[in-house]
């Protein structure tokens, strides 16, 4: 798809349909100036898609269009489309649209000799020229086959018609009824070779889903899978699976999960804005409570949160959350929280529409879907995954942080059950019950958290009267996880031990003090003793010196008395 976006195929200009998903799939729209065949069985939305192509062309791309209807009167068409949000009469009055009903009734037409369909050409040409149309829809031209018997003429004329449309340079949609063995009942695909789109309407398990597939698109790459689409008041919504282009901007802003303990596990601030969070766990493991914390935190920040509850009513959830000290009622009154509670009975597509519509209306920054497990009853695993992919993409594009809860049945390996879904998620929290010591206790694992350093530690998950608390889990002597009362027991035990240790250590430090005092006393005694000795020794030294001086003096005296010659002057000098 990207190649076409980057215009590496400049040879093939495209006409955008304005139907977002379809333009994504076709890499920009239908082949410009060429006919496209739109085929499908009755009631699968051919007319609607074709009309949407014209209406959007006229209103969004400045390309007027001609709608030639062979099955519905123009008044009927206008009426049908008003209920889908388009006032065709206004567009007709503005000369942006031309509606022409071609009545083909076999009982009214007698064929007597050679003819051609020049009348149709003139009619179409007149409409095109009158409003300067760039787009044309023929819905459903196969009706001609039921009105006219001479198929040889008809086929020749159809071939001429499609060539003529190309010469006119209009981008055309030709609708066709699905045939038993071929794409269309009368083999229109023979004439329209550029682009063929197939619509399908299937009912499985009482749920109907419309799907679209691009069978062929000459000269362009295109998505080849079947893509579900919806019809509602807003027109067509086709939500192709994201792999065609993951272009949403990733925010580095973080939003708190509402649990400081959980935020800490993710390195502090919480989830990235716009990320998708999966909370899975067995029944009663606290998924809804975790969601409620997230919602309450959002409300506290003044952000809007939209909560899709598929199992409980809004009042039931608010009542239950009050029991753990969370007042959601206030958030609802402030307009920060809205519940949309319904049983999942309609098809997946309808759910998608509902979610889309609710989100568009409320413009939340946070969406909670509780639980997604209920979707699995509505479709196969693959369908559910596809639906969630589209949902997640939608949220990401809107920078909405989404929290999905998922119920895992006990006994199965939790990690396996969500294999299809978990890969789509940015953060995966697993709540688990641990049974030990005749208790079931909840623990929380942070299995995955894209783009952030996160804790690998299991936390015990406590539902208290003032909300959810996360506690470090204890490892018992044998290395087993200790939770609940076992943990409390161990905590108490450890506390007692530490008290003892504290007492012991304070005793020891007192002993040390005493010893230090004793030693210091000893040192003082020794120092005193030494002082005495020192004084005595100094006195001794002084006496010795005095005696020596006296002796020297005596010697000089004696020498002088003996009249000593030689050493006498030196000795005298020295002494002086």
């Amino acid at each position: 798809m990207n190649e076409t976006d980057q215009r590496t195929h400049p040879a093939l200009p495209k006409s955008p349909t304005g139907i977002e998903g379809l333009d994504q799939l076709t890499g920009g729209g239908l082949p410009q100036g060429r006919p496209t065949l739109l085929c499908g069985s009755a009631g699968c939305g051919k007319t609607l898609i074709a009309m949407e192509f014209l209406v959007r062309g006229a209103t969004q791309f400045g390309e007027p269009g001609v709608f030639m209807a062979f099955e519905e009167r123009t008044e009927e068409l206008a009426l049908n489309f008003i209920s889908l949000g388009h006032d065709l009469n206004v567009l007709v009055a503005q000369k942006k649209l031309s509606l022409d009903f071609v009545r083909v009734e076999r009982s009214e037409i007698e064929e007597a000799g050679e003819y051609d369909l020049e009348g149709l050409f003139i009619r179409l040409g007149h409409s095109i020229d009158r409003i300067g149309a760039k787009r044309v829809v023929l819905d459903t031209i196969e009706t001609l086959f039921s009105g006219l018997t001479n198929t040889a003429i008809l086929r020749a004329e159809l071939r001429r018609l499609f060539r003529w449309l190309k010469d006119k340079g209009v981008t055309a949609i030709i609708t066709g009824e699905r045939g038993e063995t071929s794409l269309t009942r009368y083999g229109l695909e023979e004439y329209v070779a550029d682009c063929v789109i197939m619509l399908d309407h299937r009912v499985s398990e009482n749920m109907s889903t419309r799907r679209l597939r691009i069978v062929k698109y000459r000269g362009s790459s295109h998505g080849t899978s079947e893509y579900p689409f919806l019809i509602d008041e807003g027109g067509i919504s086709l939500l192709p699976i994201t792999s065609l282009g993951l272009k949403h901007v990733a925010s580095s802003e973080r939003v708190s999960s509402g649990l400081p303990g959980l935020d800490a596990m993710m390195g502090g601030p919480g989830y990235y804005r716009g990320s998708s969070v999966l909370v899975s766990g067995t029944a009663g493991s606290g998924k809804t409570s975790l969601s409620a914390h997230f919602a309450a935190a959002a409300a506290a920040r003044g952000e809007r949160c939209l909560w899709f509850a598929f199992e409980e009513s809004a009042s039931q959830i608010t009542r239950n959350m009050r029991s753990i000290g969370l007042d959601l009622e206030q958030a609802i009154q402030q307009g920060c929280l809205r519940f949309h509670a319904e049983r999942p009975t309609s098809g997946l597509e309808m759910h998608l529409v509902t979610i889309h519509k609710q989100v568009q209306a409320f413009q939340p920054r946070i969406v909670i879907i509780d639980p997604i497990t209920n979707f699995t009853a509505l479709g196969s695993d693959a369908e559910v995954t596809a639906m969630l992919t589209r949902l997640i993409d939608f949220f990401k594009q809107q920078q909405i942080t989404a929290l999905f809860t998922s119920l895992t049945s006990g006994g199965r390996a939790e990690e396996n059950t969500e294999a299809g879904v978990s890969s789509l998620m940015d953060v995966w929290l697993l709540l688990r019950d641990i049974e030990s010591g005749a208790e079931r206790n909840r623990v929380l694992h942070l299995l995955k958290s894209r783009g952030m350093a996160h804790s690998n530690q299991v936390r015990e998950f406590l539902l208290t009267g003032h909300g959810v608390e996360l506690r470090d889990v204890y490892l018992g002597p044998s290395g087993a996880l200790l939770t609940g009362s076992a943990r409390v027991g161990l905590e108490a035990q450890e506390e007692a031990q530490s008290l003892v240790r504290e007492q012991e250590s304070s005793g020891r430090s007192r002993a040390l003090e005493r010893k230090r005092a004793a030693v210091e006393a000893q040192i003082a005694a020794i120092r005193a003793e030494f002082g005495v000795e020192e004084a005595e020794l100094k006195r001794g030294i002084a006496q010795g010196d005095a005696r020596a001086a006296m002796l020297a003096g005596d010697r000089v005296e004696m020498g002088r008395q003996r009249q000593d010659d030689a050493p006498a002057p030196a000795a005298t000098e020295k002494l002086n």
């Binding site: 071609v102 009214e108 037409i109 064929e111 000799g113 050679e114 003819y115 051609d116 020049e118 001609l144």
Partner: protein, 114 residues
């Protein structure tokens, strides 16, 4: 419906009824010329003095193609008497034209043929 039109045709005692016929063509093509010639002949034969024939060239008045629900050319439209009848082609098959104009009862086989 057939019995009444049949009686219309078979009882000339009825007051003179005006037939209003229109022939839609697109330019002077061999088909349109043939259609006009065939029609003229038929009218003279079956509707002497009680028909009005108008030839409309859609190349000149294309808007009439939509107004009168014209698809194929040549198309002969019987505007009056009601109900409106349409016959397409160069009108070379006289039998079919007469049936189409209710100037002759329909064969039991319906309108298949060829």
């Amino acid at each position: 419906m057939n019995p009444t039109t049949d009686s219309l045709k078979t009882t000339p005692a009825e007051p003179v009824e005006l037939w209003e016929l229109r022939l839609y063509v697109a330019g002077q093509t061999p088909k349109s010329l043939a259609a006009f010639a065939n029609l003229k002949r038929l009218c003279e034969e079956h509707l002497q003095e009680r028909y009005v024939l108008e030839v409309i060239d859609l190349l000149k008045t294309p808007q009439l193609a939509e107004d009168d629900q014209i698809l194929a050319v040549p198309t002969l439209v019987r505007k009056l008497p009601v109900p409106i009848r349409k016959i397409i082609g160069d009108l070379s098959n006289t039998e079919r034209v007469l049936v189409g104009l209710d100037l002759r009862p329909r064969a039991s086989g319906g309108n298949d043929g060829n």
